[in-house]
């Protein structure tokens, strides 16, 4: 199977131009296969989020290349990267990050609206289906603020999928959910991976969860320490 993502010699140093620069990632090389379901584990401060943010084009590496579907996007400008995030990548964050002023349905549709395509019946149906899929069929019109943590995270999942991205990045998506909800959210992600063939990269500190994924990448002190594919 082809690689959707390739990292070549990625280095990341925070505060490069200050007195005490802090190198967080060291010559990292990594490829992710299309349609795969991956987890990244590692101790807190090991550089997992930094890595995921670079993959998601939210942050730039200090050096090295980032290839998405074989295309080197390292030197893309801000607008081109914004387009890539909008069209190719879905994000799920630990702190849910919905827009509190909008309803669940509006939040799900937001990435589509950002793409500036006309709102169609098809896309509204899709948004509704996604909300049904994540089990929030009855909360479509609820303001994001009025939903529980688990519900918000499920809205965020539906939102990450609305533009049919090829890659979904999740940074400790169940970090502040209880264990039952955590289990359900992972089952949902797995289900989506199988149904839509979406590639997932999920950061988790939960080994039990990581073991259910196809590939476990462990980061230690900014380097790949272990990489196990089942």
């Amino acid at each position: 199977m082809a690689d959707i993502l390739t990292l070549q010699n990625i280095n990341k140093t925070y505060g490069e131009k200050t007195k005490n620069p802090n190198q967080v990632l060291f010559d990292l090389n990594l490829s992710i296969e299309e349609h795969s379901f991956n987890s990244i584990i590692g101790q807190s401060g090991s550089g997992k989020s930094t890595l995921l943010n670079i993959i998601g084009t939210l942050d730039k590496p200090t050096s090295g290349n980032l290839l998405l579907k074989g295309k080197n996007i390292t030197s893309f400008n801000k607008n081109e990267l914004a387009d890539i995030r909008n069209q190719q990548i879905g994000f799920i964050f630990q702190f849910h990050y919905l827009l509190p002023e909008f309803t669940a349905l509006e939040n799900v549709l937001m990435p589509y609206k950002i793409s500036k395509q006309p709102l169609t019946k098809e896309i509204e149906d899709r948004a509704n289906e996604l909300l049904d899929l994540v089990g929030l069929g009855n909360f479509k019109k609820s303001l994001a603020n009025n939903l529980s943590g688990g519900q918000q995270q499920r809205v965020a999942i539906a939102r990450a999928l609305i533009n049919n991205p090829s890659l979904v990045l999740a940074d400790e998506p169940t970090g502040n959910l209880d264990s039952d909800t955590t289990e359900k959210v992972y089952e949902l992600l797995r289900q989506i991976n199988q149904k839509f063939k979406t590639t997932f990269i999920i950061i988790t500190h939960d080994r039990h969860i990581a073991e259910k994924t196809d590939r476990i990448i462990e980061i230690k002190d900014g380097r790949i320490y272990m990489d196990i594919t089942k």
Partner: protein, 382 residues
């Protein structure tokens, strides 16, 4: 644009109290502007009216008395469309004598049908009637006292050039101007023409204008029609002080407006700047989802614009309400408004427009700030 507008609208409606406060802030600024503006132009109008409202605004004289004045008036009227009324007058000076009492008087002959258009003698009459027959006169109320006269009496007009003439008193008028009340004696043109004895002549032609500030242009139009044998003077040539007073008022009005605008701009931009901070989380999410920086900026520009629209409309309504109340409650003892405000639609539209532009500009720096906001900071800090 549509997306930025939807988001801007939602941000505003979901922080209702804050939105209302800003709109009220803008509205108060605009209403002060509208009110002060109307007040000052009302003041100016009443100042102009009391100074030159009942006076000749362009006066035509010649070195000798004017004989062909009817055809001259026709020429003047067809030379410009800025004239509301033209009237011939004939003025001589002398003394009014009643027994041992004597006063210097200005003896003025009028064609009252047109002269009332300037002087409104018909409204100024305090007693009796306007003179209609030759040698009938009306006098200012000051002369009535100083010469001790009443209606039905006769008085002698005495001049070293024209000798003595006995005149019949048919009325008195109160021009509310001391210099006129104490000196003017008015009569039909024929009285003066009889005394002077040069036939059907007058000494000057007086007129009032539609656009009083176009007086110099009108003067030129008249001069080119009637020729330069005549002397034409306009009210601005004789009232430089009034003009600089009016200018001073306009400048102080402008200063007030500028301060109001500055405070509106500062108010809005500080509130929107806070709002950018409050919304930085949302902006981070939107950017992570791929919103373009320029669309993110537009959200705040549009917020400024929307606030400006509502603030301007509300402010104009407030301002008109305030002006209306002022004319209803600030009254003279006789029930007329202390100052008749001048509501100028153009000026009001301008005030609203300026507030709108100012609000949008005030949103500029928050908008730039929002486009520079980095996603990663927001994502990291939760």
């Amino acid at each position: 644009m549509k997306l930025a507008f939807q988001i801007a609208k939602r941000f505003l409606t979901s922080a209702k109290r804050q939105t209302i406060v800003i709109i009220l802030g803008i509205a108060i600024g605009v209403s002060v502007q509208v009110f002060i503006g109307s007040l000052i132009s009302g003041l100016q109008a009443s100042l102009i009216d009391s100074t030159i409202g009942s006076r000749s605004q362009i006066t035509i004289t010649a070195d000798a008395n004017i004989a062909n004045y009817d055809s001259l008036i026709t020429d003047i009227e067809s030379s410009t469309d800025n004239i509301t009324v033209v009237t011939p007058t004939f003025t001589i000076a002398g003394s009014g004598v009643n027994g041992s009492l004597s006063e210097n008087v200005v003896f003025r002959g009028f064609d009252f049908t047109t002269a009332n258009g300037i002087y409104k003698f018909d409204e100024l009459l305090s007693e009796g009637n306007l003179p209609t027959n030759t040698n009938d006169i009306a006098l200012g109320v000051g002369l009535k006292d100083s010469l001790n006269l009443s209606i039905g009496d006769t008085v002698t007009f005495s001049s070293p050039v024209y000798g003595d003439t006995t005149l019949n008193i048919v009325g008195f008028f109160d021009a509310k101007v001391l210099a006129i009340n104490d000196a003017w004696v008015i009569t039909p043109l024929t009285t003066i023409q009889g005394i002077v004895g040069e036939g059907n002549v007058v000494s000057s032609i007086e007129m009032q204008l539609k656009e009083i500030f176009n007086d110099v242009t009108t003067k030129d139009e008249i001069l080119s029609a009637i020729g330069s044998t005549y002397n034409v003077t306009t009210w601005t040539e004789e009232n430089q002080e009034l003009l600089s007073g009016l200018n001073g008022q306009s400048i102080s009005s402008l200063m007030i407006q500028i301060f109001v605008i500055v405070s509106v701009v500062l108010g809005i931009s500080s509130v929107l700047a806070i709002s950018v901070l409050q919304k930085s989380r949302q902006l981070g999410i939107l950017k992570a989802m791929g919103i373009q920086d320029k669309d993110a900026s537009k959200i705040f520009l549009l917020e400024g614009f929307i606030l400006g629209i509502f603030g301007a409309i509300l402010g104009i309504l407030f301002g008109l309400g305030l002006s209306y109340m002022f004319t209803k409650f600030a009254l003279n003892p006789d029930g007329t408004p202390v100052i008749a405000l001048q509501i100028d639609a153009g000026f009001i539209a301008l005030s609203g427009g300026i507030a709108l532009v100012a609000s949008t500009l005030a949103a500029l720096s928050p908008a730039i700030k929002s486009s520079k906001l980095s996603v990663i900071e927001v994502i990291r800090n939760g």
